[in-house]
Each structure stands twice: as C-alpha cells, then as structure tokens.
Symmetry: C2
Subunit: 425 residues, 2 copies
C-alpha cells in the first residue's frame, strides 16, 4: 500500500532546461507564480511551492533544476533534484518534442522506479506541432501514461489533472476535514441524530473523523442529539465557532442555531474532504438549465438495495422533474470504476456521497465530468439546495456562497423578466 | 449469528412442579425473592423478574408455571410457558432426580430446539444423593450441557453461572456502558489524548461507544484532549456530572477536575461493561496477600508483539515484585479460550483489558477464576490502583469504593502494627 509521503500531495516536475516546467505549473494552478522565461536554466534549485490546484486541493509542486545542465553547478543541481524523489508522491516528466526523449529522461525514469514513484510523461508545447507529427515521434516509444499538453493554450491540462489523480497514492487524503475552519480553544457543536439509520452503539466514520479533527486542532467538540442542541447553547458561556449537523436534521439545527454562528453539515464537509466542493456547488447551477427530455446520470459508488423513497432513485429524480416541469431521461448507474462513456450525453451528473470511494476515486470522477464538460453535483450538495439550506450550509465557505448567490440573482432576474413578459400580454 | 432477544439476558427456568425452580433463582441471585414452597404448583404464571446476578449483571429470569400440571388450569399454564420461548435467550431445564428425565423434559427440549434456544440441563437437589447414584441415573441419558447443583447448599451454583455465560448469545452486551450513571441533560466530559497510540484520524471503539451512549441518554458529550480539559470547565456554565478520561492521562485529568465532580476512566467503565467490576476490584485486595515465590498468571486475550516497558510483561510484574518484596513466579499466557488449568496453582490472575474479547468470553474467564477460587483483576483496575487513583476512579460506584476503603483500612492497620513491632525491638 502506497502512503503519501506527506499530507499534501507532492508533485515533482522534472524536465530539461526550457521544457516548460514553470509555465506548466502556472497552467495547473491558473496563477502566474513561477518565473516563466525562455532563458534556459532560470530555475536554479528545487523549489517547494505549496499551492491549491482545483479540484485537487492543496498540493506541493516541486520545481526542479534542469537536469541536463552541464558543468559543476549542473552536477550539484542534478544531485539535489534526485534528493527530491524521497519527498515525491508523483513525477511529471515534462518533455519538449524538439528535444525529444533521450538519456536524461531515461535516467529520471530509472530513479523514479527505484523509489517506486509513479511517472506521468507530459509532452508539452503540442500547439507547435501537427498531431500526426507527435504521434509519429512518440507512439513508437510506448510511454505510459502519457498526456499531450500545451501550457500556453491550456490544451490537455484537465487531462493532466485527471492523470495526476489517477496516479496519486491510494491513501491520498486532505490534511484536515474541519481543522482549517476553526481555531485552538474553539467550541464546535456536532449534532448527531440517533435514528434507525444510525449503527447500534457507535459512531459512523465521518462523525469520528470530524470529532477527532476538532480535538486534534486543540478545539473542543460538544456532541449532542438534535433535541439537546438548544440546551448546549444554554450550557456554554462561550459562543461556539461552528455547528456541524447531520443533514437529516438540518432544519431543526438551523432553527436552533443563532444566525451569527456558522452552520454546516457533515455531508458538506465531506464533499470538500472527499472531492471538490467548488465543482459540486457549481454543479447546482446547472439544474436551472435542464430542459424536459434531457439526460441526467445518477451515479452511485456502491450497489445497495434501493429503499423506499430512495434518495437517488426517487427523491432527487422527483425533485428534478418538478424543477424542469416535465420528464427527464434519468439513468442510474451503480458501481466502481469510471463513469459511463460517452459522458457528454448527460446534461447533469448527480453523484452519491461517495462513502465507499476514497478521495482519489471521487476526484477522478469529478475530473472525468470536467473533461467531458458535464456539470456534476453530489447528493449532499443538491439535497441542501432542495431543502433551501445550501447557502447557510456554506457559511464556513463565503467564496462558495457567492456562487449560489449568483444563481439566486440569476433566478430573481429571470422571474422579473418573466413577470414583465406576462405583464405585456 | 444469535442476537439477544433483549438487551438484558432472558433466562427461562422450566421444570416440573417442585423441581426447585424458585429456590434455584434464590441461589443464583443470592436473594430471597421467589416464593419457596414445597406445595407443588405454587408458581402459577410465567413471572418476569429483572434482577442482578453477579458477575453476569442485569438479567431477566423467567419463572414458568410447572409444565406437568394437569387439568384445564394446567393446560393454560402450559400454553403460556411455551409463549415464553419467543422471549428467551437461554433455558434452564431444572430436573429433580426423584422425578427423573421424562416426557415433559423431552417436550421442553423439542420446543427449545424449534426456536433454536440453548438448553442447560440442571440436575437439582444433588445434596440428597450419592454422586454414584446420580452418575448411574444420568450418564446413560447423555444430556449436554449438564450441571449438578444443590439450590439448598449452593453446590454447583458457580458452575451453573459459568454454563449460563458459555451458552449465552455471542452478542450479549450490557444495556449501557455509562447511561445508568448520568441523567438526561447532563454534560459529560470525555478526555481523549492524541498520542502515538491513537489511531490516525478516528476514534477507538470504546470512545465511540461511550460518546454514543451519552447522547443516547439525552446527555451531552464534551470531547477534549487533556490539555483543553481545564478550558472545558471554564466554558461550561453547568457543572459536568461526570468526567471520563483515558487512563493514560488520569493524573492530569484528576488534577484539573474539581473534587466534587465524579471522575472515572474508559478502562473502569469497560471493566464493568465487558466483565464484572466488583470481582475485579475485589481482586485488587488479593495483592497484599501475595508472598515471595507465589505463582501469578498474566493473561492476555491476544498475542501482540510485546513493546518496550510492556504493561503486562514488564510494568505490572515489576510493581507486584516490589509489593511483595521478593520474586514471584509469573506466567504470561496469551490467546483465546479458557484460562490454563489447573488454575488454582495461581494466587492471582491479572487479565488484560479484554478489547479482543466479548463480554461473554471475559465473564467466562472471570467465572473460571471464581470456580477455582483464584482472585482476578484486570489491567485497568490494577493500573489505577498502582497509580493511586482507583478510589477516585470508582467515584461513580460508591459501593465498590467501600471495598477499596476496607483494603486501605487493612493496610493502615498493618502499617500501624508493623510500626509497633518495630518500636518494641
């Protein structure tokens, strides 16, 4: 079992001088952080850059010195570059088609194999070549896995992100599920209903993970059933910094939580922890674009026996049909592996909470949807939206609340314009 | 998998009129609750009696009408007796050697087999017969499992308790681990250290079980690391009714918990939940009777790789030797199944926390020790004693504190008398 060498995924970029490592970093992050220059060897030392790549989350990109440098300085850089392998989860070997695949590339691959670090072959600058030229040059080499990109035009960048996810360590997790939202000494209330769905005499894993992350963060977790929530506020003489509730009792929790206290749900926290909350929240916006007859994919990670009023097979389809005011062509697919292709036949993907998937598997599906250009949302996010509580459930994430606000503004505008049309008749 | 039909173990006693069912109940409970009479058929209806049997804990004993009653009333009673099977985990079929094993006994066994309820054959009144007579009468019948008892002289009662434990459902648990110690609306603080021993990112099962039981009891669980405990008291404007700490930080927790608040540990709660706290606390008293050269059994349920300063192999033996002021003959046995025989070669048994045993397996070992007349204590209780915190860790159980107080008084007396002897010299 491969375990990440650190809690943040460490991705090292190797490549000859001027292969385009720094501009590739910019393309991955969408930021202009690295020094981009056409003077060979601008990057002189391995640089560790903690950054956010959507939808991967926090990563460390390791920008290495050009490994084909000659002379004494070059040897030194080379040595340092190889030390990097010890800290690396994944290697991106950036290849300039003009320079091709030569001795230094082979050397990097050998070193990576010795440390059992996966390598992704990234053929850069493809905008400068005909596809047939590239095929002719690289097909005989049988490099696996290979991604053709242009850091300049961003072509292939989403496919590269998908490859990164696919080759990340299986145990890749985020450093924290809730810890980054709270401060030491904070009190966080966790609302855990005890209903038929609760396992006998214990806590389910998401609840354990959240409580443990709270105490790991030197904060305190006040654990209550929904009925006792109101008493918890009375018994505390310090304002809780956050309330995390089970989604099934969201309305009760929202009613009892003062409006100046941030409130979210275990499902929202796990949508972020297991996948990418921003993409899933953006997916909600696609609901209003659905038209009668559109195809929608309900995707479940496990094959469970559907229960009466099943969330994926009954509740969400019923609500979606009511929204579009007509029928929808809804496919339900359950199981592991990639989503069914061609994926772009669907106008929306509604995914389960992914309790049976790890972060890597869920992110892989999110990227598959992104590459196909299909909006994706999950049960937790869409159910919060259906119950009219998504905006408040995103209160710990103000930058995501604005996505929803835009949707709400759009809808208000639409309502106004429809009213005007009706008024003219 | 057999699951108890209720949270309390339901034990039904069947037997002919005057087989001695009611006096057997008295012998099991040590109380004079049932009507004991030599007039056949005194007990007229199945009676459900919730009671405590040491070390089994809370059970329901079902005293049935004599099933060999004749006439209309007898038939009615018989029908009611059979309805009882639906609610029964275990049947004690009480047999009077004078009446012997006949049609009604066979009928009970058939009914029990239909509902897959285990039957223990209890040959009562053995004080009235020669062992050879009983053997001659019952050996050819090959009744399994069989226990020979005398409700009158209490002979065989411990063996019967052992048989009850052995044939109880595998999943037999106590109704509550902490719920009976608290009231709805209470705040309970749980102190959970995050050290190397803690699993990554989650809570261990005993912690989950305690938190869940607190919220199931309509109380609130404030979960903190030991460093934050002092803040928890400051942030609460209601006095917590109980603090439950991990034993590894007991001294820190005791220092920070006001003396008027009850304090115990997860290990003490689980010594009670998984076994019988009273027997284990009584076991502590045996330490002072140990003499150099005595044999002590360290019993561990699982075969783990002993760590440096291992609690069972190093810490406890070191402390015991220091207590007796000489060497001890210490056996360490690890694994499942019964304790090694002959068990009475040992003067003390020190058992592990039994995290890998269920209640039934741990109780079975406790009964084995009781039958052999060997004191038994577990790691949690003896470590609390070693650290001088057992008395306070028993604060939720005042009737057990008095057992320790006696020991302390005994020790004080001994110290005084030794001082006097020294003074005379």
């Amino acid at each position: 079992m491969t375990v990440p060498k650190s809690q943040r995924l460490h991705i090292a970029l190797f490549g000859r001088r001027n292969a385009g490592k720094s501009s590739l970093i910019n393309a991955l992050t969408g930021q202009d952080l690295a020094i981009v220059s056409d003077v060979p060897g601008t990057t002189t030392d391995p640089v560790f850059k903690a950054m956010e790549i959507l939808p991967l989350g926090p990563v460390v990109l390791i920008d290495t010195a050009g490994i084909d440098d000659v002379g004494e300085l070059g040897q030194l850089r080379k040595k340092k570059s190889y030390e990097v392998f010890e800290k690396t989860d994944l290697v991106l070997l950036v290849i300039d088609p003009q320079a091709g695949y030569g001795e230094f590339e082979k050397e990097v691959v050998q070193k990576a194999q010795k440390t059992q670090t996966p390598v992704i072959y990234v053929i850069n600058k493809v905008d400068l070549y005909q596809p047939s030229e590239l095929l002719e040059q690289f097909k005989p080499l049988n490099l696996q896995p290979v991604v053709f990109v242009s850091a300049l035009t961003r072509k292939g960048i989403d496919e590269l992100k998908q490859a990164i996810i696919n080759h990340a360590p299986k145990e890749w997790i985020l450093p924290t599920v809730v810890g980054d939202l709270i401060n030491p000494g904070d009190v966080v209330i966790c609302v855990i209903p005890v209903d038929k769905a609760a396992p006998k005499g214990r806590l389910i894993l998401p609840q354990q993970i959240v409580i443990r992350d709270i105490i790991d963060s030197e904060a305190m977790a006040m654990v209550v059933k929904e009925r006792e929530l109101i008493h918890a506020f009375n018994y505390l003489n310090k304002k809780p910094s956050l309330v995390v509730t089970d989604a099934s009792v969201y309305n009760k929790a929202a009613a009892d939580t003062p409006s100046d206290i941030r409130l979210t749900s275990f499902s929202i926290l796990f949508a972020r922890y297991k996948g990418d909350l921003q993409t899933l929240v953006e997916g909600v916006k696609a609901v209003k674009n659905l038209k009668p007859g559109d195809k929608v994919l309900i995707s479940e990670a496990c094959t469970h026996h559907p229960v009466e009023d099943d969330i994926g097979r009954v509740k969400i389809p019923r609500w979606l049909r009511a929204q579009v005011g007509g029928d929808l062509d809804i496919d339900v697919k359950a199981g592991g592996g990639p989503l069914p292709e061609p994926l772009n036949q669907y106008k929306l993907i509604v995914h389960c909470g992914a309790c049976m998937l790890n972060r890597k598997e869920m992110l892989s599906r999110i990227m598959q949807a992104k590459v196909a250009g299909v909006p994706i949302v999950n049960y937790g996010v869409i159910m919060a939206h259906i119950h009219g509580v998504l905006h408040r459930a995103l209160s710990p994430f103000p930058h995501l609340q604005s996505i929803i606000s835009e949707t709400m503004d759009d809808m208000k505008e639409e309502i106004e314009s429809l009213k005007k049309i009706r008024g003219r008749r």
